[in-house]
């Protein structure tokens, strides 16, 4: 009797563990089966991803998650958000806790090659800057020798910071706190002279969290390249393809002048073959991705094109102009791969 019990228990343990085995291609099937996209986002960075007063998530990264849900499930509201700290984000994606990570994450070689992750593209070109109190009397980052710097752990920011000061032969003292809210609180309490992160993040912190935004200024130096984009775990290439083309479709729509307001009209009346392909009037694109032909129509109808999303989030909430993120035709870097 006893032996049987022990054996049964052992067999059950083994079976339970086996069930957790990752299966290639399973993430997309999982999304379809449960009926929503589990999306990892920032814990709260207005403009990028933050819950508003009604508890609804808003921001540019949130728009990507909504676009993905619109493309796969036809409804941009079928998203569940998992707020993640910078330090926890990759583990959450690797372990399958989330389907996709859209958390202002810088694409780097190590992350792409060593962590078992795939970057889908870039939805925001950023660079690292410095936020200081105006009372500090500093006008350039080169004057920061000996400063105390608040920084979030587990970010490329932390590494760029050390690189920059090393290259300039300056010293600094880092204050590294896991939660972004604790870090900003420490900065506004005067624990640090400087707060450093991506320029969009600095604008967000200055405009939405500072007791008085005018007491703080962003220094002119941008010390790094920070191409930010969403990513998925390796092993589900179909999901990666879909994610990549959600980004491209939003940019392509802006290039073609398709907006949330005129998408129905364009679908019915446009004679432009590019528009017809994008909106599924001439079929084939949706099928190639294993989606409904209305995939891009759904994204644009429910979320908008890249420019509309940018204006409603980054520009409206942070007051940042397009800059590098303008379309290539306007001198920016946003350039959609051809939808054909």
């Amino acid at each position: 009797m006893k032996i049987k019990t022990i054996l049964a228990a052992g067999a059950m343990t083994v079976a339970a563990v086996a069930a957790h085995n990752a299966q290639a291609g399973a993430v997309l099937d999982g999304i379809k089966a449960k009926g929503f996209v589990q999306c990892g986002v920032n814990t709260g960075l207005p403009g990028v991803a933050a819950a508003n007063a009604e508890g609804k998530w808003e921001g540019q990264d949130v728009d990507f998650c909504r676009g993905l849900a619109a493309a796969i499930l036809g409804d941009s509201n079928k998203v569940q958000y998992t707020p993640l700290t910078a330090a926890a984000r990759f583990t959450a994606l690797q372990s399958g806790e989330i389907d996709v990570l859209a958390r202002n994450t810088t694409a780097t070689l190590t992350r792409d090659a060593k962590l078992g992750l795939t970057f889908l593209g870039i939805n925001y070109y950023d660079g690292q800057g410095f936020l200081v109190p105006t009372a500090l009397g500093v006008s350039s980052a080169t004057e920061l020798d000996g400063a105390t710097v608040c920084v979030e752990p587990g970010t490329t920011t932390e590494l760029n910071l050390a690189d920059y000061f090393r290259a300039k032969g300056m010293s600094f003292e880092p204050v590294v706190i896991e939660n972004i809210n604790e870090t900003t609180a420490a900065f506004f309490a005067g624990r640090c002279d400087v707060y450093t992160t991506d320029a969009s993040g600095l604008a967000s912190i200055r405009n939405t969290m500072a007791p008085n935004p005018d007491d703080y200024m962003i220094l002119p130096e941008i010390i790094s390249k920070e191409p930010l984009g969403p990513l998925v775990a390796q092993g589900d290439d179909q999901l990666a393809d879909i994610g990549r083309w959600v980004l491209n479709a939003m940019i392509e729509a802006e290039e073609l002048g398709v907006t949330m307001a005129n998408v129905d009209d364009m679908k019915a009346n446009s004679t432009n073959p590019g528009v017809q392909r994008l909106l599924g009037v001439s079929p084939g694109m949706g099928e190639a991705l294993g989606l409904d032909e209305a995939w891009a129509y759904n994204i644009i109808k429910q979320v908008g094109n890249y420019g509309e999303s940018y204006d409603a989030t980054i520009k409206k909430m942070l007051g940042l102009e397009r800059g590098l993120n303008a379309l290539w035709t306007d001198g920016g870097l946003m350039y959609a791969w051809p939808v054909r």
């Binding site: 054996l7 587990g154 932390e158 002279d193």
Partner: protein, 398 residues
């Protein structure tokens, strides 16, 4: 393991069922099966994990430890810069953990004993104050207390430019406490050696004094002599070393105060938080230890005309220690483990550095395995020491 036994005169040859029904055979069989299952399960878990990691193209192994860390750490007891390796970074974290745990254990013991004794005071106000202290800080989660202390320190002290100077050279700012320190000199090495020599000398004098008191009954003023030997020797070493007087004073330079010794708000918040929280438990351990000593011991001391304060120190506390040491060990282990909450207030302890390492290299399993092993090691070492101490203090029964 002993041979199966059977009644004498049993000549029947044994079948398999007989063996399986033999108590001794069964005992061995159960253990073999249990161990086999454990090995099988762990093998399965490990190989499954490795398979999955490989399938997801996540690199594994500990070779990342030799790579350049390229992040800075705010406070370190050894030489560290962004050029150092991940292994050095983890060592910095470990030393920071040991620093805060060591100081925390000493401070919480002292404060805990004071409040534990105060809870039994005959003075109503003292007794109630101690009760309020214990009940307040014991019943608030330690993480919240850490947030509280960390919010308090930077917010309640001024910017380095308008630093408070309660004593000459001692600066209180939102960046922590700055203390003046003597500039390094061989005299201080000599003083350190003298201090160790003095401790050895005190040990032997004490032994001699005890022997003499046992033999002749003549007491020896050990406390005064001890202080004399210690400070005398250290002072002589200071004079021999040339009596250096140069002091490194903390002064405002640029944005920050440079020079002197800095105690950061992160360290302070963590140390205060852990000490206050754990000291309440230590106080309860001490109180219960004292109450476990039979009242007769107090009465016996009274009848010999011993003062209450002396009776507490010489009669009651030594006996209560026997009851108190095992639960004290638990509290020390808790403090060490709770120090991993440092990450919440930005103190670069082992977990905080491991987190950063894990995130920069993506080697989550490896980094976690390293700090789990280290915590296990630290806890086992603490236990070993306390068990040894317990044995030493235990009643020697004749």
């Amino acid at each position: 393991m002993s041979k199966p036994h059977h009644a004498p005169g049993d000549v029947r040859s044994k079948s398999l069922t007989d063996y399986l029904n033999d108590e001794n055979v069964r005992a061995v069989l159960y253990q073999v099966v249990a161990i086999g299952l454990i090995i099988l399960t762990s093998w399965y878990l490990v190989s499954n994990t490795l398979d999955n990691l490989e399938q997801q193209n996540i690199s594994t192994g500990y070779s990342f430890l030799d790579l350049e860390a390229s992040f800075e750490i705010s406070e370190s007891m050894i030489d560290y810069s962004a050029k150092s390796t991940y292994a050095t970074a983890l060592l910095v974290g470990l030393l920071n953990t040991i620093k805060v745990a060591f100081l925390g254990i000493i401070l919480c013991t002292i404060i805990g004993i004071i409040f534990g004794v105060a809870r039994l005071s005959s003075n109503w106000i003292v007794r109630k104050l101690a009760t309020v202290y214990v009940e307040t800080f014991r019943n608030i989660p330690v993480l919240l207390q850490l947030f509280f202390w960390y919010a308090l320190i930077p917010n309640s002290f001024p910017h380095p430019r308008d630093a408070l100077e309660p004593l000459p050279g001692v600066l209180l700012t939102s960046r922590g406490l700055y203390l003046p320190v003597p500039i390094a000199d061989t005299a201080y090495t000599l003083m350190g050696i003298a201090a160790i020599l003095a401790l050895v000398a005190i040990y032997f004098v004490k032994k001699w004094a005890k022997k003499r008191q046992d033999a002749t009954g003549e007491p020896f003023p050990m406390t005064a002599a001890g202080f004399g030997i210690f400070f005398g020797l250290v002072f002589i070493a200071y004079l021999l070393g040339g009596a250096p007087t140069e002091i490194d004073m903390p002064t405002l330079k640029g944005f920050n105060i440079r020079g002197g010794y800095n105690i950061s708000p992160e360290f302070l918040a963590l140390l205060i938080g852990l000490t206050v929280y754990t000291s309440t438990y230590v106080a309860e351990v001490v109180r219960s230890g004292i109450q476990a000593v039979p009242n007769g011991q107090w009465e016996a001391a009274d009848s010999l005309g011993i003062k209450r304060s002396v009776a507490l120190r010489k009669v009651i506390l030594p006996q209560s220690m026997r009851v108190a040491i095992p639960p004290l060990t638990n509290q020390y282990l808790n403090l060490t483990k709770n120090s991993s909450l440092a990450v919440a207030v930005g103190y670069p302890d082992l977990v905080s550095v491991s987190n950063t390492t894990m995130n920069q290299t993506g080697q989550a399993i490896e980094a976690i395995s390293i700090f789990m092993l280290i915590y296990l090691g630290l806890s086992l070492l603490t236990s070993l020491f306390m068990n040894w101490f317990n044995k030493k203090m235990a009643l020697v029964e004749r």
